[in-house]
């Protein structure tokens, strides 16, 4: 009973935060000389008013959900992994490489899983590096993961300007298209099964974190490292494992971007997705189930940004400001435990 009441209170708090943010942003819009009511109604009707818009929101949200889940896993182990971005991008890269150079001739039922594995390995490699740096050399993982994001961009750029460049692309920095049979099946025009994978992973993660022994140990480490040490839980090894799994999930998000959305790797693939995912996890207080909804919200905001740009001439980045204000107001409310 008490627990339920507290849950409702949390949700209520989040709503209040959202409302405050919407109001503040409204004022901001008025200052910029546009009618906030117009903008808000456009955002809603033109994004959610038709199948295409909804589909776009779902497509956009897919990587956010995955990265949010990945972030959550690290967070439960007491680590701040802001490297979802780099891990995603690298996963996109490795899965593209696999698709272009190795799997071109493979049928879907082998090719797609192998491509997914490649993406996950890519993400794991990147997060594993950060994990080792954290655990073995005591380097702050927040800083290393952020910096490694920038390195990941450069690696991708190197690849798509270099050996991975599509010879038919007229010198555009992009990889060749992956084989048609390697594209993820669609459940709705433009929407691949990626979203289903994401939701399943987030459900599984929630289940494992809250029900399994491993999840339990992870939560102990995240809650109080001393308690974990006194209980004989191997802290370092578990933290590295958490980092590896979270990297794998981000890497998978990268693979889904390639195989489900873009079909080829560009320098811009996945830009900012990692940060959005991190923020989604943050807004959901690291609850993988709630992260589905916060990711959808962020997905909605970023799609509606494009809509607003087309219809009212405001740049699409203006919704980023709304997002930042929402986050600030949630941070302001603070987390009550």
């Amino acid at each position: 009973m008490i627990k339920k009441l507290k849950g409702t209170k949390d949700i209520l708090m989040t709503f209040v935060s959202l409302l405050v943010a919407v109001l503040v942003y409204g004022i901001f819009l008025i200052i910029s000389g546009v009618n906030p009511l117009d903008i808000y109604s456009q955002m809603i009707t033109q994004t959610l008013g038709n199948g295409y818009g909804i589909g776009q929101v779902i497509v956009k949200s897919t990587p956010f959900i995955l990265v949010a889940v990945a972030t959550t896993i690290s967070a439960k182990a007491g680590l701040v992994n802001v490297g979802g971005e780099g891990q995603l991008v690298l996963g996109a890269l490795t899965s593209t490489i696999a698709a272009v150079f190795l799997l071109d001739g493979f049928p879907s039922f082998i090719g797609i899983p192998l491509m997914a594995v490649a993406g996950m390995l890519g993400g794991m490699f990147w997060s594993g590096l950060a994990g080792v740096m954290r655990v073995c050399w005591n380097m702050n993982e927040t800083l290393t993961t952020v910096i490694m994001n920038y390195i990941a961009y450069d690696i991708v750029a190197y690849a798509v300007y270099g050996r991975l460049k599509d010879p038919e692309s007229f010198n555009w920095p992009m990889s060749p298209k992956i084989g048609a049979q390697l594209k993820l099946p669609e459940i709705y025009p433009g929407v691949s099964i990626g979203i289903i994978i994401a939701v399943v992973i987030s459900l599984t993660t929630w289940f494992i974190l809250s029900k399994s022994t491993g999840g339990y140990k992870l939560r102990v480490i995240g809650g109080n490292v001393e308690a974990a040490r006194h209980a004989g839980i191997p802290v370092a090894a578990t933290q590295i494992k958490a980092f590896l799994i979270s990297g794998a999930i981000s890497g998978l998000a990268g693979m889904i971007e390639i195989a489900g959305v873009e079909g080829r790797l560009r320098t811009t693939t996945g830009t900012n997705y990692g940060y959005y995912g991190f923020l989604a996890a943050w807004m959901a207080w690291n609850n993988p189930l709630a992260a589905i909804f916060t990711a959808l919200l962020i997905g909605f905001l970023s799609v509606s940004g494009n809509v607003v740009e087309i219809s009212s001439g405001l740049p699409s980045s203006c919704t980023k400001i709304l997002m930042a204000i929402i986050l600030l107001s949630i941070l302001w409310k603070g987390k009550k435990k």
Binding site: A75, G78, L79, V80, V82, M133, W137, N138, M139, N140, E141, T142, L143, T144, V146, I147, M148, N149, Y150, I151, D154, I155, A157, Y158, Y161, G162, G222, Y275, F278, L279, W282, N286, L314, P315, S317, C318, K320, I321, M323, A324, I325, L327, L328, L331, W332, G334, K335
Partner: protein, 286 residues
């Protein structure tokens, strides 16, 4: 450069501001836009500092008075800085303006080799030369610097002596943000002479890392900044030499260098971290 100095002050009061990136980009746009509008570079620098300070103010408010997670708040600030500037800056993309042009110092700039490099720079660069000793003096010799550092070490001790550690910390964070803002302004006004979205490109984050490496000391921060700058210059140089390495590999250099720097910092410089900052870094779980 300025970003590092700014963050040095911030971290000295026991706060880590990943939003330094945001402060810099805000400074970059504000500096550029106001110079463009008013034609007065001085105005640009001032507004750059103010905008950097404003973002830092939001950060300090959340972190110090609301107890919000420093890293998450910092990221949000960074995000907000990039978002807002992308939005407001749309009108200034590819508008060029004079900004700050190099001022050659007579005589000194005629020193062979070194002269043109060191003494034919814009005014902000000159200021940055003296900023290091100035900050060193401020932090380590002046009474205000002492109080500022005390806030980063042990705010309880400070409050025993009748100061308000929260206010002191806030002042430190804002000052840091302002200096970072100037850093951004220098980037747009003196270095590139244009405004590009997301032009700081991680420099703020790198600054945060370099501060750690520099042992929170402006002197070493300066060295760090020049080495980082050197890594960038090296990249341009190698390119110009036609060395057959991809630019992107070269672009990674500064970041790899930073990671390496963090590694060294983690190995050796642990004691020098302000005590309250250490607590935050060590318990960086949400």
């Amino acid at each position: 450069m300025y970003g590092i100095y700014g963050e040095t002050i911030t971290e000295r009061v026991g706060v880590i501001n990943l939003g330094t990136e945001g402060c810099m980009i805000a400074g970059a746009l504000a500096g550029y836009a106001f110079t463009y509008k008013s034609g007065l570079p001085f105005m640009g620098v001032l507004m750059g500092a103010l905008c950097g300070g404003l973002l830092a103010f939001i950060h300090s408010l959340l972190v110090i008075y609301r107890g919000a997670n420093q890293l998450a708040t910092g990221l949000t600030i960074m995000f907000m800085g990039v978002g807002i500037t992308a939005f407001l800056g749309i009108d200034y993309v590819s508008v060029s303006c004079k900004g700050l042009s190099p001022v050659a110092i007579p005589l000194l700039s005629q020193i062979p080799v070194l002269g043109p490099v060191v003494f034919n720079q814009d005014i902000l660069t000159y200021i940055s030369y003296i900023l290091c000793p100035l900050l060193t003096w401020f932090l380590f010799k002046s009474r205000s610097g002492l109080i500022l550092r005390a806030a980063g070490e042990d705010s309880e001790v400070l409050s025993v002596y009748g100061y308000n550690p929260k206010l002191v910390k806030m002042a430190g964070v804002i000052l840091g943000g302002m200096i970072s803002g100037i850093g951004g302004a220098q980037l747009s006004m003196a270095y590139t002479h244009t405004w590009i979205e997301n032009m700081t490109n991680g420099r703020g984050v790198v600054a945060v890392a370099l501060v750690v490496l520099a042992g929170y000391n402006p002197k070493y921060a300066m060295i760090g900044a020049y080495v980082f700058g050197g890594a960038q210059a090296l990249q341009l140089l190698l390119q110009a030499q036609g060395v057959n390495i991809s630019t992107f590999i070269l672009q990674m250099f500064p970041y790899i260098f930073t990671i390496f720097a963090l590694f060294i910092a983690a190995k050796s410089g642990k004691q020098s971290a302000p005590a309250e900052l250490k607590k935050i870094i060590e318990s960086s779980a949400n």
